[in-house]
Each structure stands twice: as C-alpha cells, then as structure tokens.
Amino acid sequence: MTAEQPGTQGREVADLSITDVSKTFRARGVSTVALASVTLKVAHGSFVAIIGASGCGKSTLLRLAAGLEEPDSGEVLVRNEPPRTFRARGELGIAFQDPALLSWRTVRRNIALPFQILGRPVAAHRQRIDELIELVGLRGYGDALPGQLSGGMRQRVAIARALVTNPSVLLLDEPFGALDQILRRSMNLELQRIWMASPTTALMVTHSIDEAAFLADQVVVMQAAPGRISDVIAVPFPRPRAPALFAAPEFHAVCDQLAAALERCGAS
C-alpha cells in the first residue's frame, strides 16, 4: 500500500519506506503476530498519523522505523538507509507518551542529551537549545528540574529534545496520550507550528481521532490480530490549521470517516 502526499511537496521521495514487514513476538510460549506483511511509504515532508485498536502493531511499526526492533522479514529504510546507520547521524527524533526525562538533569541538559550521546560538543549548540526552549514555550525554565514541572511542560521538554538535532524524520508514539483534552489541543497547535517551522517528516501514533485528523496529511488505519493496514485516508485541510477547525463540519466529516474505518476493522 502506498501512502503518497499529493501536490504540495513536489517530487515524491519516500523518507520512510517499510516494505512487506512482518514481526512476531513470543512471550511465555505465546506468539503474537504484531505485524503481518505491512507496507507503508511516508513521503518527504509529510505528516502521517497511525490510528488503530490497541495491539494492532502501530507502536511496533514506529519502533521498527527507529531501529529499536528488527523485522522478522521485509525491509525498513529511512532515506534509503537502514535505521541503525541513519540514526547514528542524529537525523532521527523520537518522543513517547511518557516524557522519559532524566530526573537529575535540568531542562537544558535534558534537551542537550542527544548531542552528548552522539559525541558532539554541547557548547556549539547552546543557541539551538535556547531556541527550542523558547519554541516549546518554556522560557525561564531552562534550569528547572523535571520534578518541578507539570506533566504538560515535561512533555514539551521531550518534544524539544526530539527536535534538537534538527532531525529529518520525527517519530512520535502517542506523545500527548497522557495529557487532558485541553492541554492536548494546545500541544497539537504547538506541534503543528514547530513542524511547519522546520522541514521534517513526521510519523505519529495516536489513539485520538481528533488529533489524527487535525495534524496529519494522511491517516493510516490499522487493525489487530494480525496487525496490518486496513485504510489510508487523506486529510485535505490547508495549513496552518486553526483551532476553529475542531468545530468545522468538514472536520467532523473526516472524523466520522475515520471512526467508520476503525469500526469496519473491528476496533471500536
């Protein structure tokens, strides 16, 4: 199945190419087919969201793209490279539902962590780190410890860390899943702004139909047992998308379409 970004990005280059990938997990004698020959192409500069029931393998798909799991069969390429060599250049950014911050490091040093792991001098990127603190709305909190921040602020630190290396591919695994609805919407707006400000290809796993419809150019609907792609639905709204879109009838039409697609594959 090919998910292509129509028009806006010009020449189609698949930044993320997952071809005929299967993955089975075995735990305590029980095997679970997380993915059964899944194919997904994410075009350069596009924002793709994945929704589906729990256990449909959407997080596994993301972890395969990050090289955190190896496929049993098939091929995963990020910009024509295996994820392992691609990520070693610092071109990959990742954020999870849990902020996964180092509790003993300040906000600034948490955001600087990728440079240290990559073995690059942090001092050379001081300006970039300050820029990001500003961008995620945490000005004045650079020297705070994660324990002193609210859940939403911590999540923004995690987003800033994911962006600090100017990644060309951004992987997001339910990054706002633990936030309440109001905070989630403002984070959605912020993410759109950040994503539009820097040329990044984004793949986001989410449970929220709203979030998928608001942020993505394309929504991939997955079904479980075994995990596979059942639908790809294009979201045509122009950018930047404003909060008013959440109330628009055409937005609800897309959401209904997504809900119907989920229902068809037995997710709800």
């Binding site: 090289g67 990520r87 792991i117």
Partner: protein, 517 residues
C-alpha cells in the same frame, strides 16, 4: 524532627528513666541489668580502654566497608551489563548473603594475619546488600530511556553512562546505608575468630567472664552507637543527594529465573549456567588457595575437605561431631525463625488495626534492625543466662525486627480501594484484616523468611560461641582453639551450605505459591 521521631525520642527517654528509677528502688534489678547512671560511671572509668578498642574496630570496619562496597558496585555493573555473569555467580552471591559470618572468621584467621581477617570478613558481609541494591537500581530504569539513547546511536555502554549509573545512585546509597552497620558487625565477628587484642569484639569476649552488667551493657551500647553512626552518615548523604529516605529494607536477591535473559536463552545454556552457578563457589575456594600458595595442611581445598568428611581416617569422628552439633543448632534456629516471623506478622497486623501504633513502632524497629546483633548478647546473657533459652531469645530477636519492618511494609501496600470496600459494606478493621490485608500480605511472609533465615542461624551460632558452648558455633570455636584446621573448614563449609539450602528452599516454596496465585 517529625512528630513520630519526637514520640520515639520521648519513648527512649522514658525507658531510660524507668530503668534508672526501678534500678535504684530494687537492688535485684540493679544487680541484674545495672542502671543507666552506673553504665555511664563505668564508661568514665573504662574511657582509656574504649578508645583503642573502638578505633581498632572502626578501622577494620572502614577498610572492609570501602573494599567490600567497591567490589559490590563493580560486580553490580558487570552483572547488569552481562546478565549471564550474574547467573554464573548466583551461587557465590547467595553464599555471601546467607553465610553465618561468624564461621568465616576462624577460616580467615587461619589464612590471614593481623587485622586482615576482620577487614576481609567486614568486606564479605557488606558485599551482598550493596551489590543487590545497586543491581536493582541499575536495572530498574524507565524502559523508555534506553530507547532514547539508542535513537541517537548509543549502545549499552552509553545507556550505562547516561542513564543507569546516575539512576542507581539512590539505590546504591540505600545499600551503603544498610552496609555501614554490617561492616561493624563483620569486624567484630572477625575479632572473635582471630583472637586479636583490640576491638569491641575482643573487649566483649574478655568481659563476658566477669559478668559485670554495667560494663557488658556499656560495650553493647558502644557497638550499637558505632554502627548507628555509620548508618546515620549514609542516611544523611542519601538525603542530601536524593532528597528522600526511601527504600529501607534491602530486598533479598531475585532468583535468576526471574531475569528475562534466562527465558530467552536455550535450554543447554540454561543448564550450563546452573552448573556454573553451583560450582563457582568451590572453584573460587580452590583458586584462591592455589594462587596464595597456602599449605594444604592449614587450608584444605574442596576435595581435601570432602575427603576429610567422607573417606579420611577421622571421617566418622568428624561426621559424628558435626551431626550432633547440627542437631543442637538447627532446631534452635528453626524455632527462632518461626517464632520471630510469627511475632513480626502479629505486630505488623496490629499496625493495620491501630495505625497510630505503627507510627511509633516503625522508627524504633528500623533503628533496631540496624543494630549489630552482637549488642544484644550482653542483655540476653544478663536476663536469660547462658542456656539454650538465651540462644532462642537471640534468634527470635534478630529475626523479629527486620521481619516486622518488611511485613509492615507489605501490609501498607494493600490497595486502599480494597480495604475501603470492606468498610463500605460496614466491615470493621478486624474484618478488613481477615478478608483483605492478611491474604494480600501473606506472600511477604516468604520474602521476610528468605531475608531473615540466615540471620536466625547466625544469631544462634553467635550465642553458642559466646554463651552456651554448644552446637555448631561452639564446634567452630573449640576446633579453632584445638588448631583442628580440617574441622574448622568442614564446619564452616557445612554451615554455609545449610544456610544456602535453607534460602533456596524458601525461595522454591515462594515461587510455587506465586505460581498458584
């Protein structure tokens, strides 16, 4: 200070005053357990003696503490990095955890001289709590953090460097805090075995004959004070570094089959590592003697000891002596274990019915579980004499406090919703205890038993060595005096083996119960 701490302090003060007053009114009490003022007076006249004794013990304990904990932290890092290594060293780790330390003293005194036996014993005693705490700290990290590090091309070493080491700091400090009083106990137990002149253990040993209550209790308090100063230093450092005082009781080791690595590896590898785990302690024993070039006459290896027990000319005598000693020691240790845990369970249940009582008892119990068991010897000698009763009392006491702390924590972990459900239907505290808290906390009994069973054995053997002159403790002490090296080694090995088997048996029961639930 918090309110509970004030209550505890007031309780200690009230006890001291009551003791002083009854001692002054009833001469019988004064002759039996002295009075606080008599103990203070005795301190004054013994001041010149205390200084070198305390200095000697503190020096050995400090060296042992540094060496033992250094090895423990390095071992934890290696075990974390290479899980197969932990599996292979399981036997060594459990032997070091379960060994009754007093039996190792005479062995060390045979192969080492000067203050080295005390230092080495102290290091051996502190190894396990720090190693296991550090290992848990290194392993139990936010599972997303390794993903973050790998996303930027970091490998296992990078995860260790950026995440695990700093994450483990609070756990390591908690381990060091538990290890500090143990290092003092190790040094003192080493003094018994090596017969050195200076040290609190030697002081106690020399004073037992006179049975002067003021001096004996004074030594007990001094040993407790030294141990608690060590505990206090690391409690303070821990609070400064981590801003919390969490993790009080060091959990006993996880059995290797809980480690995820084992389930992934092949059956053959599993068996190979199991064999390695069993053989490793004996291999190390043989290797150390081999490298140090100590004569086989004073330091027999595993095969020589086996020959001594099974086929040698003295084997039937040796077996008979060991059998009768075991027959005296094991029932007492078993009795102490059962009664100690039973009492601890009842008291822990009491804290559920009367939560206010828990606030008062808990701090005292935490303090007392860190008290070196050697400090109990004077009091038990004065109150219960030198009989088997004294041995039972010692083993009950050394079991009770740590078991109580662990079980009370178990009761405290019962989900509030489950307890409130009983109240919602009009059930009282006792019904809540019967229907929810007791069934919920029952598994903690086995966790507690695993933790304290080795202490029960050690308590009994110390009492036998110092007071009753029976059983395994005495066998070791007298064989040491008679320079019967073969018997010292055989006795030590058998004691350690029994402690390890008891530990593994309790683990097995625990696992079987976990499986049925």
């Amino acid at each position: 200070m918090k309110r509970e701490q004030w209550i505890t302090a007031a309780g200690v003060l009230a006890t001291l005053m009551l003791w002083e007053v009854t001692g002054r009114i009833f001469p019988g009490v004064r002759d039996l357990i002295a009075t606080p003022s008599l103990i203070v007076a005795q301190y004054r006249s013994d001041a010149a003696l205390y200084l070198p004794h305390i200095l000697s013990t503190v020096r050995s304990a400090t060296f042992g503490f540094v060496i033992g904990n250094g090895i423990a932290i390095i071992a934890a890092i290696l075990f974390c990095r290479f899980p197969a290594l932990e599996y292979a060293f399981h036997g060594v780790n459990i032997a070091l955890f379960a060994m009754p330390a007093i039996v190792v003293g005479p062995v060390l005194a045979i192969i080492l001289s000067g203050n080295l036996p005390q230092i080495v014993l102290s290091a051996l005693v502190v190894y396990f709590p720090t190693m296991s705490a550090a290992l848990v700290g290194l392993r139990d990290i936010d599972p997303r953090l390794p993903d973050i590090v790998r996303t930027y091309g970091g490998d296992s070493n990078a995860i260790l460097r950026f995440v695990r080491l700093r994450s483990a700091m609070p756990a390591i400090l908690a381990g060091l805090r538990a290890a500090a009083p143990l290092s003092v106990l190790g040094a003192i137990l080493g003094e018994f075995g090596s017969g050195v002149r200076w040290g609190l253990g030697s002081f106690l040993l020399g004073s037992l004959g006179e049975a002067d209550p003021a001096r004996l209790l004074g030594i007990g308090f001094a040993a407790t004070a030294v141990a608690l100063v060590g505990y206090g230093i690391f409690a303070w450092v821990g609070r400064r570094v981590t801003g919390s005082t969490a993790a009080v009781t060091i959990a006993a080791d996880r059995s290797p089959d809980e480690i995820s690595f084992a389930s992934q590896s092949s059956w053959l590898r599993h068996v190979a590592l199991l064999v390695a785990a069993v053989l490793m302690p004996f291999l190390l024993w043989w290797l150390i003697l081999r490298i140090s070039h100590i004569s086989a006459i004073i330091a027999p290896g595993p095969l020589e000891t086996l020959r001594y027990l099974l086929t040698g000319p003295e084997s039937s005598d040796a077996r008979a002596a060991l059998w009768s000693a075991l027959g005296e020691t094991l029932p007492v240790a078993g009795l102490g274990l059962v009664f100690g845990i039973l009492a601890a369970f009842l008291f822990a249940a009491l804290t559920v019915i009367r939560p206010a009582a828990a606030a008062v008892i808990m701090p005292a119990a935490m303090l007392l579980q860190s008290m070196p068991l050697i400090a109990l010897i004077p009091l038990v000698l004065l109150l219960f004499g030198r009989d088997t009763t004294a041995s039972v009392v010692i083993s009950v006491l050394v079991v009770f406090f740590p078991a109580f702390v662990l079980l009370a924590q178990g009761f405290a972990l019962v989900p509030r919703a489950a307890r409130e459900l009983v109240q919602l239907y009009g059930g009282g505290r006792s019904k809540e205890l019967r229907l929810v808290s007791v069934p919920y906390s029952a598994p903690y009994v086995f966790a507690a038993a695993k933790l304290v069973a080795p202490r029960a054995l050690l308590g009994v053997m110390v009492a036998e060595w110092l007071l009753s002159g029976r059983g395994l403790g005495n066998l070791l002490n007298s064989s040491r005096g008679l320079l019967d090296y073969d018997r010292v080694w055989a006795g030590a090995v058998i004691s350690i083996l029994i402690a390890v088997l008891a530990y593994e048996a309790i683990s097995l029961i625990e696992r079987m119960i976990q499986k049925t639930q």
